[in-house]
């Protein structure tokens, strides 16, 4: 029976050795299943182990232990079949040949995956037209803007029409317009073409818009792995928005712990996690003590950024204990 998962990661670990021989554990006993046909967000702070995991999925880094299956294939036992399932844009590199034209890049990466002839040229034309690069297909990639170069990289990752696309920080360093183009394209990949997309990004608003499911990783461990809506819902229970008339006196905002304080049209809005009803009434009492009339108090849906920060803080606090 066909697995419902595009990628299955089983107790995957990676320990690097520093020059002095000291070990650094980048990934620790990671278990993860990426459902087929979804956009899967793989989120974490710098150094969390995202790129190492992505590279282990691509077969570019050998795990210390554990295994990765891509579709039906074990990445290390059936490397050739496994890498045919994957197209990737990796973080921090050019990914494509700057001294070649966009057209020649697509042909080259198609050849690398074993494609050729009319099937390849048709596919390359389709991708270049979709990404508005057709008119400049003969120009060398080094003459392109950063955004256009990234679009060529994405096109090269898609040229062999792989069922799984791994995008490691695809919008890093792009301006707003270029980032939006890439974002829209990622959305279309899953919705219209049924691709499985694994996306790592620090742009959490983008992840919230695009992803069906996210995993949050920190220090090589998974902290959460839930559908986005469920993850947000988990935290909505204790997330509030309180609006009072007037402004908080100078210096008082710091007394409201983890709540963010914003001013809007002369009123003050406090947002954030409040542990329980007692804590909520305590905040309201303090506001009343300041003589600020209450306009509204409601349970608020947190955004992914809020959840992300909260999970990392909780993890940090647990470690310190």
């Amino acid at each position: 029976m066909e697995s419902p998962f595009a990628i299955q990661i089983d107790t995957l670990s990676k320990t690097y050795r520093q020059r002095n021989g000291a070990p650094i554990q980048a990934v620790k006993d990671l278990n993860l299943c990426v459902p087929a046909g979804q956009v899967f967000g793989f989120l974490g702070p710098n150094g969390a182990g995202k790129t190492t995991t992505i590279k282990m999925i691509c077969g570019l880094v050998t795990p210390t232990s554990g295994r990765v299956r891509v579709g039906r294939y074990d990445v290390w036992r059936h490397r050739s079949a496994a890498v045919r399932q994957i197209g990737a844009v990796l973080e921090g590199t050019r990914n494509v040949h700057w001294p070649l034209s966009a057209w020649d890049n697509l042909l080259y990466f198609g050849h690398l995956k074993g494609m050729w002839g009319r099937r390849l040229t048709r596919r390359a034309e389709q991708l270049l037209r979709e990404l508005d690069l057709w008119d400049r297909r003969k120009d060398l990639v080094r003459t392109f803007s950063r955004g256009m170069q990234q679009k060529v990289a994405v096109a090269c990752a898609l040229v062999a029409d792989p069922p799984i696309v791994l995008l490691d920080e695809p919008t890093l360093g792009l301006d707003v317009q270029a980032a939006r183009t890439v974002r829209d394209m990622v959305g279309r990949l899953a919705q219209e073409r049924g691709k499985t997309v694994v996306l790592t990004t620090h742009q959490l608003d983008m992840a919230q818009k695009l992803c069906d499911r996210v995993a949050i990783i920190s220090k090589g461990r998974i902290l959460a792995n839930e559908p986005v809506e469920e993850l947000l819902h988990l935290f909505s229970e204790e997330h509030y928005q309180i609006k009072v008339e007037g402004r908080l006196p100078v210096g008082v905002a710091d007394c409201f712990d983890e709540l963010t304080v914003e001013e809007e049209n002369g009123n003050t809005i406090l947002r954030g996690p409040i542990a329980d009803q007692d804590a909520l009434y305590d905040v309201l009492d303090r506001l009343r003590g300041l003589g600020l009339p209450l306009l509204s108090a409601s349970r608020a849906e947190p955004d992914l950024e809020g959840v992300f920060v909260r999970m990392l803080d909780t993890d940090k606090a647990r470690e310190e204990r």
Binding site: G59, L60, L90, H111
Partner: protein, 262 residues
């Protein structure tokens, strides 16, 4: 098999296109190395260009030119891929990276042959260097190059692991020019140096090539005197070791997580 062939041809096409982009560099290198040959010819000829001496040297120089290209195109080329961030993409081909690089080896052969033909024509016209065109030289040259490219894979493997291999490649390239019998015949070297020189991949090939092309010996004769047999064994061993070392180095780089780093 089909995928490997397509990938190989794709790599050849790409390497040729990139070489065309940098054609000025290729052009300049052709003439720079030509001047080096003439310069060394002047030195060994005591200030004079002796066409007989130059013809003897040219056979060795020709092999050295291919050796230099093998080392440069495999190791520096690989480093170029690392710094361009395309090596990891290349490694995600269903075809092993070593085999993808064979496409580059083929391009290197094509370009070097073109450069040699240009230089040979100029030397023929200006320096009266006349290499007898004997078909028997082709299989000997091919066997020699198999060993040379095996050696290139060793240096390329070192590049995957140690990254900063330019100085190593430079030393090896220049060392080979002087001790593989290009300039000085092995008989004229001290015994200890000649023993070391024989271990290098191109030395035996140059000696056999001279016997066949310049001395006019047949393949049967060099087979009988065992030099051809040794060349086959030597080149096969070099290629096998080169492939194994490269494969091992690729595994080490993947284990270190440093495949695409430079």
């Amino acid at each position: 098999m089909k995928t490997a062939l397509i990938t190989l041809l794709g790599e050849v096409r790409k390497s040729l296109l990139i070489s065309w982009t940098y054609r000025a560099n290729v052009f300049v290198a052709t003439f720079t190395l030509g001047f080096i040959f003439v310069g060394i010819g002047l030195l060994t000829g005591g200030g004079e260009l002796d066409s007989e001496q130059l013809t003897f040297m040219f056979v060795g120089y020709l092999v050295w030119f291919y050796t230099r290209a093998a080392i440069s195109d495999l190791s520096w080329g690989l480093r170029g891929e690392m710094s361009a961030g395309t090596l990891e993409q290349m490694s995600m081909s269903p075809v092993p990276i070593g085999l993808v690089l064979a496409g580059r080896v083929f391009t290197s052969l094509l370009l070097t042959t073109a450069q040699i033909l240009i230089q040979g024509s100029v030397f023929f016209l200006l320096l009266d260097i006349r290499i007898p065109l004997r078909w028997e030289g082709i299989p000997i040259l091919a066997l020699t190059l198999i060993g040379v490219f095996g050696f290139g894979y060793i240096v390329a493997g070192a590049t995957l692991v140690f990254k900063q291999s330019e100085s190593l490649a430079n030393v090896v390239e220049n060392l080979l020019l002087f001790i593989n019998g290009t300039m000085v015949p092995l008989d004229a070297m001290p015994a200890w140096l000649a023993s070391i020189a024989r271990a290098f991949p191109s030395t035996l090939g140059i000696a056999v090539l001279r016997r066949v092309v310049l001395d006019g010996r047949s393949l049967g004769l060099v087979w009988q005197d065992k030099s051809l047999v040794w060349l086959i064994v030597h080149s096969s061993i070099c290629l096998a070791i080169g492939w194994l070392v490269f494969d091992r180095c690729e595994r080490v780089a993947k284990k270190q997580g440093s495949l695409g780093q430079y």
